[in-house]
Amino acid sequence: MVPLQWYMYLSAALFSIGVFGFLTRRNIIMMFISIELMLNGVNISLVAMSHYLQDPRGQILTFFVITVAAAEAAIGLAIIISVFRNKETVHVDELTESKG
């Protein structure tokens, strides 16, 4: 039997790696990829808990997380395309319009 804690350690590790990627990469697309990593980390934790606590709610939530991740990826990428058309760059340190 694999203890629940191992799944949770795995989820924490995957989430942290996602955070690192989000905080440090310059490319917007890499940031979005890091977001997907974070979301997947959370999904692992949810499904594991659902299995161990025998409660369907974890898996239902995972279902919704995947749905929302899809929607968010779509819109986010559409925004990237818009920004790219205007500014010709995908480097975040050049996109500081909200400074001040």
Binding site: I17, G18, P56, L77
Partner: protein, 171 residues
């Protein structure tokens, strides 16, 4: 060590290694392909956890739709220039420190985690009818409202993506 544990370790190590690789590639296309493999391994983990439906959804939606979307957008970039330019925002060691702290805190949280009472969604129940049917029954009765909201959300996402990414034809 039982077979289950070996499988788990294999999947876990691959997942973590792949994730580490994904965020450090200079070529975005490499990252995306590595992500594909990552998603398959995660789906494998889900299968271990008796959640076939979620595994299928994972592969279908993530690997099938989202990664394709990413790939299309990456095609916009000038890859050669992208690979040559600076990867990280300055001071990435700060990131290492931050996530070390995050990891430590989360591991401490896991250690002190006390699981709650067990529900009645047992494996036998799943084995009786398929996992899909079991999830479906719960989804369409108790969680109907969030389901409908999610569908609206997807509608908004579709419309929004089209509106945002449309090319404005100057007349």
């Amino acid at each position: 060590m039982s077979l289950l544990e070996i499988f788990f370790f294999y999947h876990a190590i691959v997942i973590v290694t792949l994730a580490a690789f994904i965020i450090t590639r200079s070529n975005p296309v490499h990252s995306i392909v590595l992500m594909l493999i990552l998603f398959f391994h995660i789906a494998g983990l889900y299968l271990f956890l008796d959640a076939e439906f979620i595994a299928a959804i994972q592969v279908l939606v993530y690997a099938g739709a989202i990664l394709v979307l990413f790939l299309f957008v990456v095609l916009l970039l000038n890859l050669k220039a992208e690979m040559a330019s600076r990867l990280y925002i300055i001071r990435w060691p700060l990131g290492i420190i931050v996530i070390s702290m995050l990891l430590i805190v989360m591991f401490a949280g896991v250690k002190s985690f006390v699981p709650g009472p067990k529900g009645d969604f047992t494996i036998q129940l799943i084995a009786q009818e398929t996992h899909t049917a079991a999830i479906g029954r719960v989804l369409y009765t108790k969680f109907l409202f969030p389901f409908e909201v999610a569908s609206l959300l997807l509608l908004v996402a579709i419309v929004g993506a089209i509106v945002l990414a449309k090319k404005h034809i100057k007349t």
